[in-house]
């Protein structure tokens, strides 16, 4: 009966920390932790010494001082009397605006190009190949610069919109005119679009450094409510279909749910549109969308769409032909085959690389520096840093914010990814 009990019991020796696999991993980890700790301590000590040598201290108090500079595009009210912190928020919102719109635009374009690249049409698939290869093999910086030049060189000056008395007398039309029923003016300075105005607006809710526009908030709440109602309507329709096999007609109910509350709210608040018009040097009224924003957005969307197109193409090609043939054999029409059979499967392949493209696009918004777009890097990491000389604080804060944005995006998208992946049963 010489079983496990016969194994000689080693008493613990110090050398076992290295030679015994049971303990070795602990030794290595403690050693690594020690090294990293020492390294960090070394960095901190150096930083402290350097700060002391330059007579600086590490604090974020400068964020509450007057900024003193102006920002062209601001989604929340800001003047040069506002604080640096407010400037940071304006920049952050500008970053997020480009990132969100860019992701949407890039996805739409990318899916379109990806599908067209698989088309049977010889010309179109070749053109799409050129599109993809040209966009993704040249640095993004070049596309941003070129889009910016095209926008500011190929569009008319505001003065071209003017009708002088002589021109009116001679019956000549001005050199340029507004588009979309005289509501949008594209000049070489930017795009003037109508601004929503409210005669009975709800005003602002002031919370110290943060002030919230109650009107926007009301719209967001109503819109959220509509979406929730729409989803529950859809869920109940699904349940009915499961039970009886017949899907109730819901399109008019959905339409009503989506449109009615928002229009009621608009009417209640007295919504009207302020149309831009030529006054003095520029168009006044409405909202001015600067070309730096448009150029950055368009270039980012085009560049990323080339990558997304490849992802979509690979995703569709990954689904075996048998799947669509089987769907046709079941009598499904092409549209429903795509919706019910191909896309749900292709999405599983598409979404993980798509997440990293969204992350890349968000990080690439920092290239707004090339067209002096005042995003987070332009305000906090640019002018604020430069005017206050607080590079350590500004850079660390900026990196922390970018990191947070990235982590939030990947968390949200990974959650979505988990919900579309094949569930193991």
């Amino acid at each position: 009966m010489a079983l496990a009990s016969d194994v000689p019991k080693d008493s613990f020796r110090l050398s076992m920390l290295i030679y015994d696999t049971r303990y070795r991993s602990i030794t290595i980890q403690v050693f690594v932790l020690l090294l990293v700790g020492l390294f960090l301590a070394w960095l901190l000590q150096n930083t402290a010494a350097n700060l002391a040598a330059r007579g600086k201290e590490f604090n974020f108090g400068f964020l509450w001082q007057r900024a003193g500079y102006d920002i062209g595009q601001q989604l929340i009210p800001y003047t040069n009397d506002s604080t640096h912190f407010r400037a940071l928020l304006v920049g952050l919102l500008n970053t997020l605006a480009v990132a969100v719109l860019g992701c949407i635009l890039a996805t739409v374009l990318g899916v379109l190009v990806g599908v067209l690249r698989l088309s049977n049409n010889w010309l179109v698939s070749r053109l799409m190949t050129i599109y993809v290869e040209a966009l993704r093999n040249v640095p993004l910086l070049l596309w941003i610069l070129l889009t910016y030049v095209i926008l500011s060189e190929a569009t008319p000056q505001p003065r071209d919109f003017r009708i002088t008395d002589e021109m009116a007398a001679a019956g000549e039309a001005p050199a340029a005119s507004m588009i979309l029923f005289d509501t949008v003016a594209v000049t070489n300075r930017g795009t003037n679009v109508p601004a929503p105005m409210f005669t009975r607006g709800l005003g602002m809710l002031d919370l110290g450094p943060l002030s919230i526009n109650l009107t926007t908030l009301a719209f967001l709440i109503v819109l959220g409510g509509s979406i929730w109602a729409y989803r529950s309507l859809k869920a109940s329709a699904d349940a009915t279909q499961e039970e009886s096999g017949v899907r109730p007609t819901t399109w008019w109910q959905s339409l009503l749910i989506m449109v009615l509350p928002v229009s009621l709210l608009s009417a209640a608040l007295g919504l009207h549109w302020e149309i831009p018009e030529l006054k003095g040097f520029n168009f006044a009224g409405g909202i001015l969308v600067a070309h730096s924003f448009t150029a950055l957005l368009v270039a980012l969307a085009l560049y990323t769409s080339a990558f997304i197109a490849e992802i979509v193409r690979a995703g569709i090609q990954a689904i075996s032909r048998g799947q669509s043939e089987a769907a046709f054999a079941l009598g499904l029409r092409p549209g429903r085959t795509m919706n019910l059979v191909i896309l749900p499967q292709a999405l599983r392949v598409i979404i993980p690389p798509l997440i990293s493209q969204y992350l890349n696009l968000t990080k690439n918004t920092s290239l707004g520096i090339a067209v002096s777009y005042l995003d987070l890097r332009g305000t906090l990491g640019g002018i604020t840093l430069n005017q206050t000389g607080r590079e350590l604080e500004c850079m660390l804060l900026m990196m922390a914010i970018y990191l947070t944005i990235s982590l939030i995006i990947s968390a949200v998208m990974n959650f979505y990814n988990a919900s579309v992946q094949l569930k193991a049963r």
Partner: protein, 338 residues
């Protein structure tokens, strides 16, 4: 390339850099060359030509400094710095001196721990507009779109000016002078604002420069000058007095061409001290005694530097204005060489 070579290089550089805190002048001498922070490219003030040779008004001051220290104006290396990286480059010791049209302000002098040791160009912020815009004063620019370079004092001045006059404007921020010029020429902004010298330089190089006017308002004081790190007073003295030497040379009529002859024959005591013929002025700040003579021989006096880079007759075509000598109604006034 792999890690190895760079670790080797890293090791070599750290060893060399070990004693960087000793004193800038000693470091420069030990290194055998001066490192000068310059512009990334501003016509007339500092820009490399097709062969990588730097030329310009600010660049010549760097060369004068190199000539004063080493007797050789070529022993200088130019590191291009952007509006955003320039002061950090100086603070960290990456450059020895920053000569890159930087404005002397209170906060830069105190908070950023820098020292502005001289003013080599008195400037002020102005506006340029197209002639047919029909504007004759900056106060008529209500609602205008203004092009402005980011990372400079001009942003703050502009905001202050429009606020004081209770008028509004739309800023278009641009990264550098050539981009600002492109936007302005394309009509993407009604006015372009920067230092008046920069405006003149820009206008001089435009294809149809006479179509544009510079408005009379100068909305700020922009004393531009060389900057050194705070706390190294001896090095600050070297830079300041090299610049002063160029000024005194102009005052006394010493030029690049006649400096050797004047040194041999001059009876003026101040000139003799300046050129190292009598006294030991150079030695007192750790330079060779003929340091300033070398500087003048290398680039000429202040007036010559001005005339050859940005003065009337060059492409930039700037008048001396405020930068004339005090004897001619300007502000350039050097402390006596005694």
């Amino acid at each position: 390339m792999k890690k190895s070579a760079f670790l080797g290089a890293l090791a070599a550089t750290t060893v060399i850099a070990g004693a960087a805190m000793a004193g800038t002048l000693d470091d420069v001498k030990a290194r055998g060359e001066l490192i000068c922070g310059s512009n990334t490219g501003l016509t007339g003030f500092g820009t490399p030509d097709a062969n990588g040779n730097w030329t310009g008004f600010d660049v010549d001051l760097c060369r004068a400094l190199a000539a004063a220290i080493f007797g050789d104006p070529t022993k200088v290396k130019f590191i291009p710095t952007t509006g955003e990286t320039r002061f950090t480059a100086l603070q960290s010791g990456e450059v020895d001196v920053l000569i890159r049209n930087s404005t002397w302000t209170f906060s830069r002098d105190t908070e950023l721990a820098l020292d502005f040791v001289a003013v080599n160009y008195y400037d002020g912020q102005g506006f340029m507009v197209k002639k047919d815009l029909g504007v004759s004063s900056a106060k008529e620019l209500d609602g205008a779109t203004v092009c402005i370079q980011t990372g400079t004092t001009t942003e703050l001045n502009l905001a202050d000016f429009f606020k004081q006059n209770n008028i509004s404007y739309q800023p278009v921020t641009v990264a550098d002078d050539s981009e600002a010029q492109r936007q302005f020429l394309a009509g993407a902004c009604d006015a372009y604002t920067t230092d008046a010298s920069g405006l003149a330089a820009s206008r001089a190089t435009m294809p149809d420069g006479d179509q544009y006017i510079i408005l009379p308002e100068i909305i700020s004081k922009e004393p531009l000058g060389p900057v050194v790190r705070h706390g190294d007073n001896n090095w600050g003295d070297v830079v300041r007095w090299t610049f002063n030497a160029l000024l005194i040379a102009e005052e006394k009529g010493v030029t690049k061409a006649n400096v050797a002859e004047v040194a041999a024959s001059s009876q003026d005591e101040e000139v003799k001290r300046l050129l190292g013929v009598s006294g030991d002025m150079g030695a007192k700040i750790g330079l060779p005694n003929e340091a300033f003579k070398n500087a003048i021989a290398a680039v000429g006096n202040y007036g010559e530097v001005f005339a050859s880079n940005i003065g009337e007759g060059t492409a930039i075509n700037l008048a001396r204005g405020l930068n004339a000598l005090w004897t001619q109604g300007g502000l350039q006034y050097a402390a006596p060489f005694r």
